[in-house]
């Protein structure tokens, strides 16, 4: 099972969600905000870089005001295409604008236990188990740290989480849980060991780093420092905005796009100024806060629109996009989860987001569910099929077959049918059985998805790390712990 990776490619469907004029307006509005209002960069290193490149900085407030030209010129230095490398080269992921790859969501704090289905605090073993199941699933192309290893010390938690992934999967790892400079340095050292040297890592980055911005119009200093360390080593780095209408952004969607875009492109430009040509990506998971509680919603029509709009922005800047889709606000795998995860992922796929995050979490990315993970993979498969559209050619028009069956016959015994029947989608978790069969058992896709996950966890043996490599990873973590 391991090896193959399913992606959306050569799509027949497309979506024009914003006109070129509208995108341009969003862009100039964003530059205006960066230049006149500024973005907070609470990092000495970042402020130094900005100052060296002619931005106006205020050391007291850490607010940076950057002329639009500097931002535009810096963004032009970013490569348009590159690969995310995997331990196994055949699992490398070309971010070339013609592939949509799926990852796991992150970073949850609780797990619906695979055996008892009871909710509990997440541990290191959960990170490892989820990575192992993801390793076996062809729909999943890369990992995020799905849940937090809360049984391990905060200081080295992010590093242990990476070790859990690498010990259990050959696929690319993108961490979203490295929050400072020294942690990033250690993560780079670990990636160097996996890749087999510094230059090898630069050529084939087996690790990429995703950092969150601090909306509105701010960055987390530690995150920026960590991203700079990653970029220095040649790791692809990206900044994700989660600016939300009503709370961390204006109530209007266009305004919220401007806030999020200002955060992302200012941080991305900083990386390019520090390390020209560094591989970067745009990342976004914008939403609208709930009107009653102000809470993160993880879904709704605004999310679906943002999911499509942001790829238009990243296309405008010619950099790949990592898009937050899935990540339902539902409390369990149910109607709510199905609607949100299907629509958000469909919209983000229609515009060919390079990376989709991600499968498996409930309650606004807080609670891991293996059943949800497997059903999210099915949603992705359905969308992958839809994106292929309808092929119209001689073979698919099938005129000879239609003529030979004629009025009143059926197509079941036609060779043409045998040849093409497997093009039709076969669901794993949808109940197409007769009513009475369902009535006897009252089970459904959730039960089957969970069963499949259990089966994978019990039987799938990922390709292990070389013992020397595994030992070296542990040694790096131990040396950080001792510090």
């Amino acid at each position: 099972m391991t090896g193959k990776i399913k992606s959306i490619t050569n799509p027949k469907l497309s979506l024009e969600i914003l006109t070129p004029e509208e995108i341009h307006r969003l862009h100039t509005a964003t530059l205006d905000i960066i230049e006149t209002t500024g973005i907070r960069f609470p990092s000495k290193r970042a402020l130094d870089i900005w100052e060296d490149h002619g931005a106006h900085i205020d050391r007291k407030t850490s607010i940076v005001k950057v002329p639009g030209q500097i931002i535009e010129d810096a963004l032009k230095l970013a490569p348009q295409k590159y690969d995310l490398a995997a331990r196994k080269p055949e699992q490398d992921l070309p971010l070339d604008g013609n592939h949509v790859f799926l990852g796991t969501d992150g970073c949850g704090v609780e797990v619906l236990d695979i055996n008892t289905n009871k909710r509990r605090t997440s541990t290191w073993q959960d990170v490892a188990d989820i990575a192992r199941v993801a390793d076996a699933l062809e729909e999943i192309a890369f990992h995020w740290v799905a849940v937090s290893a809360q049984d391990l010390p905060p200081k080295t938690r992010g590093l242990h989480e990476l070790r859990a992934i690498w010990e259990n999967s050959t696929k690319h790892a993108q961490t979203e849980s490295i929050y400072n400079e020294w942690e990033a340095k250690a993560a780079v050292e670990m990636a160097v060991v996996i890749a087999g040297g510094r230059e090898a890592l630069r050529k084939r980055p087996v690790l990429s780093i995703m950092q969150c911005t601090a909306p509105p119009l701010g960055q987390d200093g530690g995150s920026v420092d960590a991203a700079l360390i990653g970029a220095e080593a040649g790791l692809p780095v990206g900044f994700m905005t989660m600016a939300a209408c009503l709370t961390t952004g204006p109530a209007t969607m266009a305004g919220n796009l401007v806030v999020g875009n200002a955060e992302v492109i200012s941080a991305t430009a900083l990386i390019e100024l520090a390390y020209p040509g560094a591989p970067v990506f745009y990342a976004a998971a914008q939403t609208a806060s709930d009107l009653r509680t102000g809470a993160y919603t993880g879904g709704g029509p605004e999310d679906f629109l943002f999911g499509a709009a942001q790829n238009k922005l990243s296309d405008f800047y010619n950099i790949p996009l990592s898009m937050g889709s899935f990540a339902t606000g539902a409390k369990e795998p149910n109607w709510h989860a199905g609607v949100e995860n299907s629509l958000s992922t469909f919209m983000a796929s229609l515009v060919m987001s390079d990376m989709l995050l991600g499968v498996g979490l409930l309650h606004g990315s807080r609670i891991w569910s293996y059943a949800q993970m497997l059903m999210d993979c099915e949603i992705f498969s359905i969308i992958q099929k839809v994106m292929q559209g309808i092929v119209v050619d001689d073979e698919s028009l099938a005129l000879d077959v239609i003529r030979s069956v004629g009025p009143g016959g059926n197509f079941l015994s036609q060779k043409h049918t045998l040849k093409h029947m497997r093009d039709l989608f076969i669901p794993q978790f949808m109940d197409r059985r007769p009513y009475n069969v369902w009535e006897e058992k009252h089970d459904d896709g959730r039960d089957w998805a969970l069963e499949k996950a259990r089966n994978i966890l019990n039987t799938h043996q990922p390709e292990p790390l070389e013992p020397a490599v595994a030992a070296e990873l542990k040694k790096i973590i131990t040396s950080v712990e001792a510090r």
Binding site: V109, E110, R157
Partner: protein
């Protein structure tokens, strides 16, 4: 203006979330010699209650609640010097020391909780973000806090909520202070595990929990 009319306008300024108008009416009431406690209790508070009721039955939304809270704050700020001059004091539900813990800069949830708590009638000391454990504890002692409320968005910084609970114990303050925790990764289990007293997933719930904890 007739006093009754003024009280009505005060309530309306809160309902409309008009901070400047509320401050102006407060000033006017002082000029007219109205007892500032009356201005608050017979005027402005009625607006807060109205918005609260409308919110509860789903006719108003969070931004309206926040703006009413801010208008209330503006009015009280104008009235406070007059309260002090008369030697009277507004009766508050309790004192809350509030912050986002050390190493964590996530602000919005914490600030929203602060707004809800002060709109509900608590005296809130908002210490901002990235606040070291000992600073929180010292502030709690200094102001005689009834509640310490701690926000964290990361599992790696959430541990400082526990550190504050322990530090309160170390200085012998724990029995006098209730500890509330919040932030996306916080769960009921975490509350139990660190020996805190309460938590809420959202800001409005936080005000409710604070009242329960103090039995007010």
């Amino acid at each position: 203006m007739e006093t009754e009319d003024l009280f009505k306008q005060m309530a309306q300024s809160i309902t409309d979330g008009e901070a400047e108008k509320a401050a102006e009416l407060a000033k006017q009431s002082i000029e007219q010699g109205i007892d500032p406690l009356d201005a608050i209790n017979k005027g402005f508070v009625n607006g807060v209650n109205y918005v609260g009721d409308q919110f509860s039955c789903g006719n108003m939304y969070l931004p309206e609640l926040v703006m009413a809270g801010e208008a209330m704050k503006a009015a009280v700020a104008v009235l406070e010097p007059e309260l002090a001059r008369r030697g009277s004091e507004r009766k508050m539900l309790g004192k809350v020391v509030l912050c986002t813990v050390e190493g964590d800069i996530h602000e919005i949830g914490k600030t929203l909780v602060g707004t809800m708590l002060s709109a509900t009638g608590f005296q809130v000391y908002d210490m901002g973000v990235d606040v070291p454990v000992m600073k929180v504890v010292e502030k709690a002692r200094e102001v005689g806090a009834d509640i310490v409320a701690l926000s964290a968005l990361l599992t790696t910084t959430m541990v400082h909520q526990k550190d504050v609970v322990e530090a309160l114990e170390d200085i012998g303050l724990r029995s006098k202070v209730k500890v509330m925790v919040g932030g996306a990764p916080v769960t009921q289990e975490w509350v139990k595990q660190i020996g805190a007293d309460g938590y809420s997933e959202d800001a409005i719930g936080a005000a409710r929990v604070a009242k329960q904890l103090l039995g007010v």
